[in-house]
């Protein structure tokens, strides 16, 4: 178990008119190798929760265990924060909050230097981190981090954290404010990091479609509590409850539900586009090959019985279209 959180509670500005309970009695276990997606409305306590895991907020009530590092509200024994932060890397939403050095190389080296790595090791680690996030070492090392594009800045910010070689990586809204292409490449980067670098990843996101494409587990925060920590297929059955929390269910699940209303059941396991396609193929593969001449495209599936057509494009976007004019990817 990577992270164990027990009865964690926290209140901001205690005993002032601004007092606000941010966390109430939160329990969570994150296992090695989990890819956890955390969703929740603004102010649901998710950021406060993550800051606790990295020791950025002192525990007020309850306890947290990260590997063998224990954090409680007692001041002794002292928590080894340096070690904690080298085990848990945390990437904040805005890269602008952490970039300050004159060159990309120096900025990325900051974390490694703080951990007291040897000089030769630092430059190796920086090189490795830059390659990991897809920034060419020679091209970027001398550039100023302030002159980079939004996506590049984010890569530098991620490199600046993984240079400390954490086993758990936490990312707060890693794709916020990026264009679709930038989003995709950051998400691909995160999956690559999980495979090769940090086995356990926690991602906070507002975009449920995005997060279900990658995460293996979804935790829903609401009002400072964990509202749901159940398998995704079960979670997305609770469309109304989630909507009350200001959250949507993934598009793929909505498509599944619309089809179900019309008598086409694609089964329980639909949580994202991939599983939707999978379920559709399973159901229609046989019929498809003999009845429909116009099915095409790499992921194309046609749902023969409905008036509306469900279009699943090869780039994983899904839409329902009543008057679709044939072509690729029906």
């Amino acid at each position: 178990m990577s992270i164990t959180v027990k009865n964690l509670s926290f209140t901001y500005s205690r005993k002032t008119p601004y007092e606000k309970a941010a966390l109430k009695d939160v329990d969570l276990v994150v296992n090695d190798g989990d890819f956890v997606g955390i969703i929740g409305h603004t102010g649901s306590g998710k950021s406060t929760f993550l800051q606790h895991i990295n020791g950025l907020i002192r525990v007020e009530e309850g306890e947290i265990e990260v590997f063998d590092i224990r954090m409680t509200n007692k001041r002794r024994p002292k928590v080894d924060l340096k070690r904690l932060r080298s085990e848990v890397g945390m990437v904040f939403q805005y890269p602008e909050y952490q970039l300050f050095e004159e060159s990309v190389e120096k900025d990325i080296a900051f974390g490694a230097k703080n951990l007291g790595m040897a000089k030769e090791k630092i430059s190796d680690a920086v090189k490795e981190a830059m390659e990991m996030v897809g920034l060419d070492y020679e091209t970027y090392r001398k550039r100023s981090p302030f002159d980079l594009s939004g996506g590049e800045k984010r890569r530098v910010a991620i490199a600046g954290v993984i240079v400390m070689k954490p086993k758990i990586l936490i990312l707060d809204e890693p794709t916020a404010g990026l264009d679709p292409e930038g989003k995709n490449s950051i998400l691909t980067l995160i999956t690559r990091l999980k495979e090769n670098f940090c086995p356990t990843i926690i991602v906070v996101s507002h975009d449920i479609d995005e997060i279900t494409r990658y995460a293996t587990r979804i935790v829903v925060f609401d009002g400072g509590k964990i509202a749901y920590d159940v398998p995704m297929s079960e979670l997305f059955e609770k469309e109304d409850e989630l909507r009350k929390m200001g959250l949507e269910i993934p598009l793929a699940v909505r498509v599944r539900n619309r089809l179900r209303e019309r008598g086409i059941d694609l089964g329980k396991d639909v949580v994202n586009v991939e599983t939707l396609i999978g379920a559709a193929i399973k159901r229609y593969a046989l019929k498809d090959s003999k009845t429909n001449e116009n099915s095409g495209g790499p992921n194309g599936v046609i749902c023969g019985e409905v008036q509306e057509r469900v279009c699943i494009e090869s780039d994983n976007s899904v839409y329902i279209d009543a008057g679709f004019e044939g072509g690729d990817g029906i």
Binding site: P17, Y18, L99, F110, N114
Partner: protein
Amino acid sequence: MRDMSFGQYYPTASPIHKLDARVKILLSVLYIVFIFFVPSYVGYFVTLLFITAVFMIGKIPMRAMLKSVKGILFLLIFMAALNVLFYKEGKVLVDWWIIRITDKGIDFAIKMALRLLFLVMGASVLTLTTSPMELTDGIESLLSPLKLIKIPVHDFALAMSITLRFIPTLMEETDKIIMAQKARGSSFDTGGPIAKIKALIPVLIPLFTSAFRKSYELADALDARCYNATKNRTRMKVMKPTWRDVIAFFVMAAFITFICLDKWYFHGLDALLVEFVRSII
């Protein structure tokens, strides 16, 4: 967010909160001026009663008051010490090396410290009970006669309200930056003073770049809406003095009258008090 100390607005409903901001500013200025005329310990005692009553009517908790005083504690002690050590007049009590402590020196040091203490308490009543917006509107309104001599009062007021508006935003941002750098292993409370100052660089640079970015964005946003400080802008909240303000004026007038009597009529009530106590004994 971290707790902000000195003089933060304390939102609650109290007669003092409801006073017109302009009245509060004027009364605070009067109070601060007349604090310097208080001649006697009796006078300071009355001032203490007065300011405590104001705090109580304003429903400001002791904690907020003490917090505002804590900020100047060091200055108070430092000043008092200098006064005690280097005041030359009066009967000498201790004379050693370059230090000469006199009775008048001690008297002066205590009075000066009390003055400063009550001054800060009075000023913090203003900031604790008046929201920054009200405060700027009040100042703008009070300075509006200067418009006659072509001083851009509204522009100043706008700059001031923007400054006040962005203090909490930048505080929050500082918190986030500190967290982001802490997450990268930097520590702010270890090492000597030079190491501590160096540790601030990774916080200050992102903070300033962000402040610049925000100011450009805000300037663009103002421009895009054709904002300029035209003469006849109306306000959402129009300030109107009420009966409360009249009462406040009279209460302050009574306090000032007392100080004036104490100083120029009785020439310090302490001597009278001492005589009075003696006559009883």
